[in-house]
């Protein structure tokens, strides 16, 4: 049974080897010429103002969390969508409930104004 996974395994190995090869060769072989100006953060050609690490407003965190939430939701669709036809009506209803709950969450966030920037 396992041999049906052989091509996937070969592909996995090749990609891992290729990536390691590329990254390691360039770090080992490549010449290092660090200069103060090259290591400076790029700010449209000017000398950067202020420290690179700054206090960010909390709204960015809110947007990020909402994105992760609905992104994971989409991840659950993928395996279901692959075999949705064989699973028949039962799986469809179940996934419908799953989406409904998350839509409720989305409506709540919208009503609460989490999506507005101010």
């Amino acid at each position: 049974m396992l041999d049906s996974y052989a091509p996937a395994a070969v592909l996995l190995i090749i990609t891992v080897v290729m990536c390691l090869l590329i990254v390691s060769l360039s770090t080992l072989m490549g010449p290092r010429r660090p200069t103060h100006r090259k290591l400076e953060p790029y700010e449209s050609g000017m000398v950067p103002i202020g420290p690179a690490v700054r206090r960010l407003p909390v709204r960015f965190y809110l947007v990020a969390v909402l994105f992760i939430l609905f992104d994971i939701e989409v991840v659950f669709f993928l395996p279901w969508a692959v075999i949705a036809r064989q699973l028949g009506l039962f799986a469809l209803v179940e996934m419908g409930i799953f989406i409904g709950i998350l839509l409720l969450g989305f409506a709540y966030a919208w009503r609460k104004g989490a999506l507005e920037w101010e």
């Binding site: 200069t35 000017m46 202020g50």
Partner: protein
Amino acid sequence: MIDMIAPQGSEPAVTPIGEGQNWQGSLDELKGMISPRALTGETMLLNMGPHHPSTHGVLRLLLELDGETIVSCVPDVGYLHTGIEKNMEAKTYTKALVMTDRMDYLNPLGNNLVYCLALEKLASLDVPERAMIGRVILAELTRINSHLVWLGTHCLDIGAMSMMLYCFREREEILDIFELVSGQRMMTSYFRPGGLWRDLPDEFIPTVQAFLDHFPKRVDDYETILNKNPLWIDRTQGIGVITPEDAIALGCTGPVLRASGIAHDVRKSQPYSCYESFDFSVITGDHGDVYDRFLVRVKEMRESIKIVQQGLKMLRKGPFISSNRKFVPPPRAELGQSMEAVIHHFKLWTEGFRIGKGEVYFPTESPRGELGCHLIADGSTNPYRVHFRTPSFVHISALPKLVEGEMLADVVAIIGSIDIVLGDCDR
């Protein structure tokens, strides 16, 4: 020699704002312009600097950001200041014309036009009919050319990538017309004091007519793509609003002022170079936001097509340059026959012509706004002082009022909508 100005690894010779470790200390010179919250680090100071994909050239905005909204904005220009006005003082009148091409490089014929008109007004030099109409046709074609580059880059900044390719495809046809007429695509220097450098070739009318036949359909395509496009409307409507009073107080002119509802167009209010014999309407918007400025400029392209169409009909055979030998070199053929022609030819090409004492300010309508030339002559062969009133310089000075309170992503749309060219701004 290469590392003369800043050898590898050392600081740049000229220290820009914000240099050194205690960056709070180095900002004391911006005292009045940024809010004190920036010094305590509460709001973030960001350089939307000279090298930025969407500043349409080398404009630097020092933005003070509270999250995504902009608290204050300090534009810093001068990164393309090439001292054109000082250089023109060192050249004769005809040679100085070449410098005007490089000022507003999206509207080279417009710059030539304003310099030549100021000079002709100062020296009260007559311009024949054919030259005036030829100038109007080519000035309107430059307006379409400049609006196409504006539309292409404005849409590219907001995300409509394909518009750039459409607009530059049409622009190539206009550049072919300029090349047909003057031999150069952009820096034509085709208008000379007294008229045109050479006569309009015979193929001029059919080529421009061919362009005029299929261009209106292209403008319809642009309008169908953008006018009712919900994405475009969300990104441009209600953003960067400027009231008519603020627009006048800040000196905005051209499409920026007309989009706020004031019908001020120098071609209509103070007609020059026989614009009064053309009939076209002045387009105005009513909200003064980015969307209205877009509509005003696209409709202006249609008006320019109408003007060029009428110009083609009015074009007659005739002299293309004034016959006043004091200012205009005689044609080559005449040199064989008359002695005076040789004298004029020799004097004009070696020393150039002289204009008596006088001071003139001549406004014209460039695609960006009112482009004026303040020319002062003191009787010598070089212009004593040339000062250009350029619309981009004034519109960037009005930028802080447009941008404060908007989101960071909208700054890109607003810069695109006021259609600035940094060569025009810094001269």
